[in-house]
């Protein structure tokens, strides 16, 4: 069974090498037969990686403990779902998973574009095969999941209880699907540089892949936040940990790219910048994997050092050097076709959006790598804390939020006073009224107040856009509002999908600001005792200990507490929090005890309860009031939905008829009039 897995991995390695050589040779010599052979090599490589993955999955499901990987991450009594997800529970499996996704993406990109952008394709195929070659080689040589043990243990160690969580079963695949998708735009960028076809053509194919990556990264990041929140028990969802930052970095540059690409499409500007962003996004994805895998930086989500680190470092240096060289010999082809005409214009708003996003990415990267940098420069490791990231990124984030409202509404090229009044009067009024109302209600913290004021402003701009669009359709076609809204979105997916994404972002920002008001109580309660506490809204809560209990379940022993909360005297559903000790199939304890957090989810705030321990039958409990947390999850889902709307395929003809291009014309006219 092992051979069925391992042998294909080595064959896949050869297939990738074949595909790289033949595709590049075919591209350079313009020989269709070589190009076709290179493509087939990639498809074959994909097939063999699928086979290798099937082999590992079979070993995991059938509990073949002769494999180190299976023995390390599963046990005989592990539920079926977590045997499947153990595939990416450890390093070697994760590497194979990377290969599987990358091979699938590469094959798909080659297959779907083989006719449309023929000139570029051999270079795209060759470059993605080259990246794949690196990952397959690293898997096979430095981190092989098919490594055998010299003896066969009776049972495996089991999967860490913290990973036995539905979110953790799908969070890594989402993140990987996002990370890996950045390789395809990178391959296209290299192909465009090599063939000197740097017009908007290559951007068409790249945009869709950048969106795929963006949607998966968004889902992956939000799921990761959710997992950290419900599983780690420290009461928050983001702590600027290196591994969290690593997932945020490509998201930031990818978001910047999705905006700046519009400027190149419309105005032929920013061509160097777009190539840079595509390459940076891919490099940051690899860096993210490198940080998670190499142990160069301390992290809670950590791991010991492994040999894989050097492979990644070498890969990043080589890829970066190759790209810098390619860009430098193609500088002439990357000249801008137009100039910025006015500061008050959509181009300028988008440029600032890019500047801020990249600025945030830079500060996050700087803070994350600071221990390494300081050690290199000053000889001692110095770390920066959460407040570094917050003090830099909160102001930048607010600027970004303001631009979210301004960018989509301001005219291209040069906005007139009329344009600005018409577009921004109502939203600005909404923002100011909201801000004033909140101030009167007693919210005097500067950043949250600004966040909510700007959130109201951006919400105003989005509602106004939908209102105008629906109104126009009703007038023109006499449709009822629901039909008009549906068609409006369906016919202008990029534009209105983008607004949906923005609505999600606004929701996220508004929710983040809520955490500025979180409260924390440490409580000791015997059975039947109660404790009262005030929440951030000034309401009185009491928590009554309804009793500690101990019981056995599936693969664990549980100590649980039930708390009866009341708010201003009204009783609410019980909140339970547990301490769990997991066992293997022969009753030996595995892992340290794990905590199950109890969360009472409400629209205005979460009540977050952690059972820390029990002393002489008294429960030690921590209670957090976390305002607005549920809106983080809603916002994340809305963002991903918006991304899907933007991504949904639409025929070219329809797009031109209904949409994005036409809608801009009137604004530009007004601007020049």
């Amino acid at each position: 069974m092992i051979l069925v897995g391992e042998l294909p991995l080595w064959i896949a390695l050869l297939m990738c090498a074949w595909s790289v050589t033949l595709s590049y040779a075919g591209g350079a010599m313009r020989r269709a037969d070589l190009i076709a052979s290179g493509e087939r090599g990639l498809y074959a490589g994909f097939g063999f990686i699928v086979l290798a993955s099937a082999g590992l999955w079979t070993a995991l499901i059938t509990s073949d403990f002769s494999l180190r990987y299976v023995a390390s991450f599963t046990s005989a009594n592990l539920p079926f779902v977590y045997r499947i997800s153990a595939f990416w529970g450890g390093q070697a499996g994760s590497m194979l998973f990377w290969c599987l996704i990358l091979a699938g993406y590469s094959a798909l990109a080659t297959w779907t574009n083989r006719r449309s952008v023929r000139e570029l394709m051999p270079w795209v195929t060759g470059t993605s095969a080259l990246v794949l070659l690196f990952f397959v080689a690293t898997t096979a040589l430095a981190s092989n999941p098919f490594e055998r043990l010299e003896w066969v243990p009776a049972d495996g160690r089991g999967l860490n209880p913290q990973l036995q969580n539905p979110a953790m079963a799908i969070h890594p695949p989402m993140l990987y699907l996002g990370y890996v998708a950045t390789a395809i735009p990178f391959a296209f960028a290299i192909a465009a540089l090599v063939t000197r076809r740097l017009d908007a053509e290559w951007l068409g194919a790249v945009r869709r892949w950048a969106l795929v990556s963006w949607v998966f990264l968004t889902l992956g990041i939000v799921l990761g936040m959710w997992w950290a929140y419900v599983e780690l028990g420290w009461g928050g969802y983001w702590m600027w940990d290196p591994v969290e930052n690593a997932s945020l970095l490509p998201w930031l540059t990818g978001t910047a790219f999705l905006h700046s690409i519009m400027i190149q499409e419309k105005r032929g500007m920013l061509r160097k910048w777009n190539v840079t962003l595509v390459v940076a996004t891919f490099m940051l994805s690899v860096l993210g994997t490198f940080i998670t895998r190499s142990g160069v930086i301390q992290s809670v989500h950590s791991f010991a050092q492994s040999a894989v680190g050097n492979w990644f470092a070498a890969f990043m240096i080589l890829a970066l050097a190759a790209t810098v060289w390619l860009v430098s010999v193609r500088l002439k082809d990357l000249e801008s076709q137009a100039q910025l005409e006015a500061m008050i214009s959509r181009e300028a708003a988008f440029l600032y959006n890019n500047l801020v996003l990249v600025g945030i990415a830079f500060s996050v990267l700087w803070g994350t790598l600071f221990p390494i940098i300081s050690e290199a420069v000053r000889g001692s490791k110095i770390t920066v804390g959460e407040s570094f990231f917050n003090s830099v990124n909160v102001p930048l984030g607010l600027l970004l939020l303001a631009l979210t409202g301004i960018g989509p509404l301001i005219a291209w090229r040069r906005a007139s006073v009329g344009n600005i009044q018409r577009q921004f009067a109502a939203p600005a009024a909404l923002g100011l009224i909201t801000g004033a109302a909140l101030f009167v209600l007693g919210i005097h913290k500067l950043y949250p107040l600004m966040t909510w004021t700007l959130s109201a402003f951006v919400t105003g701009t989005i509602l106004q856009e939908f209102h105008k669009g629906v109104g126009a359709r009703r007038k023109m076609y006499g449709e009822n509002p629901v039909v008009a809204l549906g068609r409006l979105v369906a016919r202008n997916r990029r534009r209105y999908g983008g607004y949906v994404v923005h609505a999600g972002i606004v929701m996220l920002f508004a929710a983040f600001a809520g955490m500025a008001f979180k409260l924390e109580y440490d409580i000791t309660l015997a059975d039947g005792e109660s404790y009262s506490a005030k929440d951030p809204y000034g309401r009185q809560w009491t928590f009554t200990n309804e009793g500690l209990s101990e019981f056995k379940a599936l693969n664990r022993e549980v100590t649980a507490i039930a708390l009866r909360p009341t708010i201003d005297g009204k009783a609410l559903p019980l909140i339970t929090s547990e301490k769990r000790q997991h066992f293997d199939s022969r009753g030996n304890p595995t892992f340290q005890p794990s905590t199950e957090v109890g969360i009472l989810v409400r629209n205005d705030m979460d009540v977050y309860v952690v059972l820390a321990g029990v002393v002489r039958n008294k429960a030690e409990i921590r209670v957090n009031f976390n305002p607005l947390v549920v809106w983080v999850w809603h916002g994340g889902v809305i963002m991903a939905l918006g991304g899907l709307i933007v991504m949904w395929p639409q025929s070219e003809k329809r797009r031109k008829q209904g949409g994005y291009v036409a809608a801009l014309a009137p604004a530009a006219e007004v601007a020049t009039a």
Binding site: Q91, F303, M343, L351, V356, F370, T383, Q592
Partner: protein
């Protein structure tokens, strides 16, 4: 003035402000990250280090963990193989903390020679495999129980000899 220049000026203002914020907050939040041996050297060179907070990255000494049943206090030794410190941590103990894992503790070295920690981060060794040739010491008990011989080629990755791999 050309719009391009204006934009660049505006950009410079934004990035400049961000830069000032970055530099300022690095000064405010920067914390030394040391191994126990480095801390020992630092204390000798500059006794004032006791007053400022530092972070230590090290491995928990096997068998040294004394948990308080409240789950809010734990005392243990950390070592990098060269120097050892007793750590007294008060706060919620993360699930990932256990005997002989790598930890990062932040706090102050007291006059009593005990490191009083206010934050405790533990790396869960099981989530990502250690160095590939490593051998999980916890497995030994399981194999013995199963009546199997532990592997002969047991490398010295036992928790008492962490010097082989000093944590970052």
């Amino acid at each position: 003035m050309q719009p391009r220049i204006k934009f660049l000026l505006g950009g410079a203002v934004v990035l400049g402000a961000a830069g000032v914020l970055m530099v300022g907050s690095i000064k405010d939040t920067a914390v030394y990250f040391l191994t126990p041996a480095e801390l020992q050297a630092k204390v000798v060179a500059d006794p004032g280090i006791r007053e400022t907070g530092v972070k230590i990255g090290a491995r928990v000494v096997h068998g040294s963990v004394e948990r308080d049943s409240s789950g809010k206090r734990v005392v243990f030794d950390v070592t990098d193989g060269k120097a050892t410190y007793k750590v007294d941590y008060r706060g919620l103990i993360p699930d990932t903390f256990s005997d002989s894992v790598d930890v990062v503790v932040e706090g102050r070295l007291g006059a009593d020679g005990v490191f009083h920690a206010t934050t405790l981060l533990a790396k869960c060794a099981s989530r990502y495999e250690a160095a590939p040739k490593g051998y999980k010491p916890e497995m030994r008990a399981a194999y013995k129980a199963a009546g199997q011989a532990a592997p002969a080629s047991t490398p010295s990755a036992a928790p008492t000899a962490p010097a082989a791999k000093p944590p970052e």
